[in-house]
């Protein structure tokens, strides 16, 4: 009885999903879907009281999972749709991907995004690992505040403060030295490092805190210098955390919109900035195509992270 109700709910969810491809029939399909979900709820409300809580947990969770996945599935499916409008399924095509790869601005933006992500992830991993080690080993007072606040603040605050800092403080100083300075790739890289350090440091520190202190003491007792202890003992042990942190910093950088928006200036475009411009000007399935490819990229990163450091995925929380 209860599992039948869940199947009815699932059918309702699928009908709602289908309504987004149904063109003029969308209201009818949506109403049928909603009706089926209501029927499922009514079915579930009957029956034994004992299994009631479990049923409602499943009922609500199914809806929540549907809420999570339906929007993205729609974006992906419409990227193969032979129509300019994301409103009705017309036919299969890969033309939008073709247009994407012929779009020079988009390719340039992708190249910028990759360059920024590689540079900022490399430096953020180096500095973040140091910060994680320092916080674990030396318990400094100021560093944790500087490391964690950028992670916890609304991004816009970091974005505007860097904007004012670069244009109002760094530029005049550079001008005094006879150097030109403007917003661009370099400022974006610096901004990305600033917010990525915290994530790397959190992951590295989490890895360190799970470790037995006595191995480091043993290395010291056996006459290893601090550098030798680090190179031969500490580093191999934290390496999975460092790699996970690097992947995290890379993903954060590729995905960042808000902070890049304020620190890129007018000339520099990254993929998220390009997507933003596109959806503000004209929505075409080209956006769906680039979105789908971006999803595949991050999915790949997650698979790699899962292989290298299975516990790192949890550190994201």
């Amino acid at each position: 009885m209860r599992s039948a109700a869940l199947f009815v709910e699932l059918a309702g969810i699928l009908a709602v999903f289908a309504s987004f491809f149904a063109g003029e029939a969308r209201y009818v399909a949506f109403a049928i879907g909603g009706g089926l979900v209501a029927v499922a709820a009514a079915l579930g409300a009957r029956g034994s009281r004992r299994s009631m809580p479990a049923f409602w947990l499943w009922f609500a969770s199914l809806l929540a999972y549907a809420f999570l996945y339906i929007p993205l599935a729609i974006v992906v499916i419409f990227s193969f749709n032979d129509s300019k409008l994301n409103a009705e399924w017309v036919g299969f095509t890969t033309a939008w991907y073709g247009r994407l790869f012929a779009n020079d601005t988009m390719l340039q933006a992708a190249a910028n995004s990759l360059l920024i992500a590689v540079l900022s992830a490399t430096i953020a991993t180096l500095l973040g690992t140091m910060a994680g080690l320092a916080m674990h080993r030396f318990k400094p007072r100021l560093l944790p505040f500087l490391v964690f606040t950028p992670v916890a603040m609304p991004e816009i605050l970091l974005g505007v403060s860097l904007l004012v800092f670069f244009l109002n403080s760094v530029r005049p100083v550079a001008a005094l030295l006879g150097l030109g300075f403007d917003l661009g790739l370099a400022t974006v890289v610096i901004a990305h490092i600033t917010f990525s350090i915290g994530f790397v440091a959190i992951i590295v520190r989490a890895r360190l805190s799970g470790m037995d202190e006595s191995i480091f003491e043993a290395a010291r007792d056996l006459g290893a210098s601090p550098w030798q202890t680090f190179r031969l003992v500490t580093f191999p042990l934290i390496l999975p955390g460092v790699i996970a942190g690097a992947l995290m910093a890379f993903t954060l950088s590729i995905d960042d919109f808000v902070i890049t928006f304020f620190t890129a200036g007018v000339g520099t475009k990254t993929l998220p900035l390009e997507i933003y411009t596109m959806i503000k000007v004209a929505v075409t399935p080209e956006v769906n195509a680039v979105s789908t490819l971006l999803m595949l990229l991050t999915l790949g990163m997650i698979v790699i992270a899962g292989r290298v450091a299975p516990d790192a995925l949890r550190a994201k929380a």
Binding site: L57, N86, P154, I156, S161, F165, S169, P272, L299
Partner: protein
């Protein structure tokens, strides 16, 4: 052997680089924003000179921005509206996340990691892609550029920040507590409200802070999915910096937002601390 002196050197070698970087690119910019909020806007954007070259020219230091802010209820109303949107988003996230987190926490151990991963996976997609998804979903239904659209996307974008801390908390609960409650005659509803929910409050507060704070500063969702009337604090800040280019006013708004965020974070920490204290007292 590591002498105290070389230990000291190691400390600065390891602590120094990230410290210097963050002092330069996080703390200094933050302090500059504080200073900028007391300046006068330049004629073509930016800041007017601190020491005007000619008498009668704009410049110097002023508290005018704060006077304008506290003198006009418009700004207060936008802050209030942002708080309302953040509160609604947080409540909606809580209502959606709780059953999922509870279901995962009560599932067999071997399924849990996969179920958590399934919650997080959609958020590996780009933020703008997730907002865009709602654009193409709501457009044909005629719901675009509305408060509903803004709220739906806000919930969608922030949901995992609620699910994860809740799950982390619920996973730790001892099932024996529920058995004990049952033996004492509590029904399913009572077991939830009298045992599970009170114990999960630290997770609820952690998740709520993680949702509430970013929503307060959000500008992209109201800008893309909302109408002009749906603007929040974030939109005002963005407009001040990039639209009308009144940096001092934008800086003042940023300071106000920062103060709100700090108050909320402190409140959440205080609540969590109080709960922690009462838990220990009870144990």
């Amino acid at each position: 052997m590591a002498t105290p002196r070389s230990d000291h050197r190691t400390k600065w070698l390891v602590t120094g680089p990230p410290l210097v970087f963050l002092l330069a690119f996080f703390l200094a910019p933050a302090l500059i924003i504080v200073a900028a909020s007391f300046r006068v806007p330049g004629e073509f954007g930016g800041l007017a000179p601190l020491f005007p070259a000619h008498p009668g020219e704009e410049g110097g230091v002023t508290a005018e921005n704060y006077r304008v802010f506290f003198g006009d209820s418009v700004y207060f109303e936008i802050f209030l509206k942002s708080f309302a949107v953040a509160a609604l988003t947080t409540l909606a996230c809580l209502a959606m996340a709780y059953p999922v987190a509870l279901l995962i926490a009560r599932s067999p151990k071997r399924h849990r990691d996969l179920m958590v991963l399934l919650c997080v996976l959609p958020f590996a997609s780009n933020f703008l892609v997730r907002v865009y998804a709602w654009m193409i979903m709501l457009g044909p239904f005629g719901l675009l550029f509305s408060q509903t659209a803004v709220l739906l996307a806000m919930v969608y974008v922030h949901l995992p920040f609620m699910i994860l801390p809740l799950y982390t908390n619920l996973e730790k609960h001892d099932p024996a507590l529920l058995d004990a409650a049952q033996d004492l005659g509590a029904n399913g509803w009572q077991r939830f409200w009298r045992v599970t929910f009170p114990l999960s409050l630290p997770g609820v507060f952690a998740g709520s802070a993680l949702v509430f704070i970013p929503v307060l500063g959000m500008f992209a969702i109201p800008e893309i999915l909302g109408g002009i009337g749906d603007w929040l604090v974030g939109n005002m800040i963005k407009e001040a910096f990039l639209g009308v280019r009144d940096w001092p006013f934008g800086s003042m708004l940023s300071i106000m937002l920062t103060l709100c965020v700090l108050a909320i974070a402190a409140g959440a920490a205080w609540l969590a601390g109080r709960l922690g204290a009462s838990e220990t007292a009870r144990a």
